[in-house]
């Protein structure tokens, strides 16, 4: 860039010169790196356990490469200014998840050579569906602000999705005591995962509408700014909703997730810490109530406080997970070198324990940092995007990811009571994977809007009396 500034004010306008970078090359390079790690992980698993590469390695490699290439090309075409880190981080997590699930497939086959477990190919199919949805969202949704127009429709859809499993008969909707499924013709989906996104969109649109009244009208009680009683309505509704989910679906995780998201979005919208206090108070009340009324909540809390007292029953899973993490130590047993299959349902709820055992503390921390990068990019998008709706939506979606990771990892490591949430992108489970792809697609869309150069500033016409004298320069 030359040092002499142009005298044309338009040229000095931001974004006019130089053209802002799109950073698609960076994204492609990192995506390639993530893909390389994915393939290496698969190869290590196969070589360690069976001693040879599996025959369909080429098909697998080609398939997953095609997935990310398609995703990248679509981003390049439809969201050219999108954040370059979102997609590679997702690619790495999905790839690592596939490797660990494949590894657990092999473990199951080793224990009983008559069975062939095909969970990894199924997960790959779901990843394909996820990428297709990612593409669809980017192609259809050209401007994230369009979503705010359908806020109330989405809220309705969200509520229906959330309530559906509770209404359906248990034979269709209940798996392992949680009524959160719809099982139809061999497929089982968790509609709650999609409800989450719909409700975040609604919260964002609602709060943009109402944030002034929520932030400004208040009374000061004992040094804390308290909102008016009537403004408490929405937060009370969200609270009641999450309690209802807990009662009818026995789903501790979704209940916690929804309530957490709403309180944090309220806080982001109003910048008032009192909402956090109110949220914490309501949460404490709700938790206490739930503990006293529901047996399954009590059982969860008891096993959390002392898992080893229940090691043969309810605490078995957690105890095995803790042993696995302990065996893994700092550097882990190496992919394929541990016994992560000792943990019941290691593929879905406890995949973090499997990673901790085979990759050790260093591996697990690396995974957490990849999540951190994902969330950081989301929050940064929220900071730099220009419209209030986009800000709240990006903050809500990123927080939802962070909150899930925190609650799941807290559960696996014994920091928090176990909930039924899934580790985004890593864990085996179609609904969670597909829904999270949609979530990231929305984040990519918002980040594209955020990083896109501002349209040339055309000063609004001022009233004639207020207008400055124009100086014509030759």
């Amino acid at each position: 860039m030359s040092g002499t500034p142009s005298t044309d004010p338009r040229a000095a306008a931001p974004g006019a010169t130089p053209p802002p970078p799109k950073r698609r090359g960076t994204e492609l390079a990192l995506l390639g790196f993530a893909l390389f790690i994915t393939l290496v992980a698969q190869a290590i698993v196969d070589l360690t356990i069976t001693g040879s590469l599996r025959p369909d390695m080429l098909t697998f490699g080609g398939w997953i490469t095609a997935l990310w290439v398609v995703a990248h090309l679509v981003v390049r075409k439809f969201a050219p200014y999108a954040d370059p880190l979102l997609l590679p981080a997702v690619a790495l997590l999905v790839g690592l998840g596939l490797a660990v699930i494949h590894r657990l497939d092999l473990a199951a086959e080793q224990v009983d050579s008559t069975v062939t477990r095909e969970d990894a190919p199924v997960q790959l199919m779901w990843a394909t569906v996820g990428v297709l949805l990612f593409v669809a969202v980017l192609v259809v949704l050209r401007d994230h602000r369009l979503l705010s127009r359908f806020a109330y429709t989405l809220a309705l859809i969200g509520l229906v999705l959330l309530a559906l499993p509770a209404v359906l008969p248990s034979s269709i909707s209940e798996v392992n005591g949680a009524k959160i499924w719809i099982r139809l013709a061999g497929f089982s989906i968790q509609p709650g995962e999609f409800a989450k996104i719909c409700l975040i969109v609604f919260f964002a649109a609602y709060l943009v509408d109402k944030r002034d009244v929520l932030a400004l009208a208040s009374r000061r009680v004992a040094g804390i700014e308290l909102p008016r009683g009537r403004d408490l309505g929405p937060v009370l509704v969200a609270w009641a909703l999450s309690i209802l989910v807990l009662v009818f679906e026995r789903d501790l995780g979704s209940s916690l997730l929804l309530f957490g998201i709403f309180v944090v979005m309220l806080y982001v919208a109003t910048e008032r810490a009192s909402w956090l206090l109110i949220g914490l108070g309501l949460f404490a009340g709700g938790a206490l109530l739930a503990y006293q009324i529901f047996g399954h909540v009590q059982a969860r809390v008891d096993t959390w406080l002392d898992p080893f007292a229940y090691r043969d029953g309810a605490g078995y899973q957690l105890v095995q997970s803790l042993f696995g993490l302990g065996t893994g130590g700092l550097f882990g047993a190496g992919l394929g070198g541990g016994r992560p299959d000792q943990v019941p349902v290691a593929k879905s709820d406890f995949i973090a324990a499997a990673i901790g055992e085979e990759l050790g503390l260093f591996g697990l921390v690396a995974v957490i940092i990849v999540y951190l990068v994902l969330v950081e990019r989301g929050l940064r998008t929220s900071l730099i995007v220009r419209d209030a709706f986009g800000k709240l939506l990006a903050a809500g979606l990123s927080f939802a990811l962070a909150w899930q990771v925190f609650v799941v990892l807290g559960g696996v490591t014994g920091l928090l009571p176990l909930t039924g949430l899934t580790t985004p992108f890593l864990a085996y489970g179609g609904s969670s994977l597909v829904a999270n792809f949609a979530l990231v697609a929305i984040l990519v869309r918002i980040s594209d809007a955020a990083r896109r150069p501002a349209p040339p500033v055309t000063p609004p016409r001022t009233a004639l009396g207020d207008a400055p004298t124009e100086v014509v320069q030759s």
């Binding site: 053209p19 790196f33 992919l335």
Partner: protein, 153 residues
């Protein structure tokens, strides 16, 4: 079965790969952060942003030294700073001698240029009336009506 040494290479090699990925990701994050706002990285190539310390020594705040807003500080980022009476200005002046869109400060490669946006009473850098964009050195007073501003590191 594969030899023990190969397993160890797998074990640590894979962890190394994971961390290299994180390192690469953080390099991108850093380029974004020190290039300021996400869209503005091009004017400073990442390597220059990392290596050249010149940028870090550039002005960091805009301080109002005289006038009704005296004492106000604005932290400088990468975005241009609009000064005027209009509500959407970065620095909203309540100065009868200022126009609604009076002047703009723009960052170019870590240096700030002041530019008059066709104000009625003009913008002065030191004693000189600002016509085209002028480079502002830290400590150099910019005068707009009764208000005086300067950049500080």
């Amino acid at each position: 079965m594969t030899a023990e040494i190969v397993l160890q290479i797998f074990r640590f090699g894979f962890l190394l790969l994971l961390w290299l990925f994180i390192f690469a990701a953080f390099r991108v994050v850093r380029a974004d952060l020190f290039g300021g706002r996400a869209g503005r990285v091009a004017s400073v190539p990442p390597r220059a942003a990392a290596g050249g310390r010149k940028k870090n020594r550039g002005p960091k705040t805009l301080v109002v030294t005289a006038g009704p807003l005296s004492g106000t500080k604005i932290t400088l980022g990468e975005q241009p700073i609009l000064i005027g009476r209009a509500d959407d200005s970065t620095l909203v002046l309540t100065d009868d001698f200022a126009s609604s869109r009076h002047a703009r400060l723009t960052n170019r490669s870590g240096q700030w240029y002041v530019e008059d946006l066709g104000s009625t009473n003009g913008t002065y850098l030191d004693q000189q009336r600002v016509q085209g964009p002028l480079l502002v050195a830290p400590g150099q007073p910019i005068r707009i009506g009764q208000t005086a501003l300067e950049l500080r590191s």
